[in-house]
Amino acid sequence: MRLANQFAMANENIIAEAVEANEFMDLANSYHVYGVPKIIVKGLEKSAEFEGAQPEHIFLQNILKVI
């Protein structure tokens, strides 16, 4: 969540959202969240997802993948 927030600080096109999975279970289920953190990255047409705390460059790669 911290990295997502930092990415949003740096670029006006980035929307960082943390979602508490227990409270919003329907949404979590719709994204097949079985473990946390689970990260869904959505661009206009493409999307990516990954699990676990990943280093900065992996997180970044997943953002660049969807644009």
Binding site: M1, A16, E17, N22, E23, V41, I67
Partner: protein, 172 residues
């Protein structure tokens, strides 16, 4: 009773005094109807009848979140501001729409800071591990120091269309 107390409070006082620079606005989206004495009494009763579900209802989550944010703001009143938006009112709904928030997901916190170019939000009650994340966000937003590597910032600059990052988290 205070949620933030003892060592945590001392730690936050020191950290905020040392690291907070510019103002951070915490926009809390909730419903006024969650915060009435009646709603609170009802929740207490429901908890006593059935306290093993582990479910955190939106009303209870909103009340605790509101308290956490108010207590944070009280530690650094010149830096942290809490603005509460009532989703029972047309104004609150309009604010949520403007902020691009999902009105069905309450409580929600939308962060605002001069150091935030994009958008940053938190859906749910920031407790446990996520309380720590909330603090890191506030400190990063206020200090303007994102600690990202220069190469990352450079590549991020190429993001020229909206990208939504959803991070699913739990308190433990």
């Amino acid at each position: 009773m205070a949620i933030i107390s003892g060592e945590d409070l001392d730690y936050l006082k020191q950290r905020f005094a040392a690291e907070l620079k510019s103002g951070v606005e915490l926009n809390l989206f909730t419903r006024a109807s969650y915060h009435t004495p009646e709603a609170e009494a009802q929740a207490t009763e429901a908890n006593q009848e059935d306290d093993d579900t582990g479910e955190m209802f939106a009303g209870e989550a909103s009340r605790v979140t509101a308290q956490i944010l108010e207590e944070l703001a009280a530690i650094a009143p010149d830096k942290i501001t809490v603005v509460t938006h009532d989703m029972d009112s047309p104004d609150g709904v309009q604010m949520a729409e403007q902020a691009g928030l999902n009105a069905e997901m309450l409580p929600a916190i939308a962060f605002d800071s001069e150091n935030l170019k994009g958008q940053s939000r938190y859906y749910g009650l920031p407790s446990g591990y996520e309380f720590g994340s909330l603090i890191e966000n506030v400190v990063d937003l206020s200090s303007g120091n994102s600690e990202l590597r220069p190469a990352t910032v450079e590549k991020l600059a190429t993001v020229n269309q909206p990208v939504q990052i959803m991070v699913f988290v739990t308190p433990t």
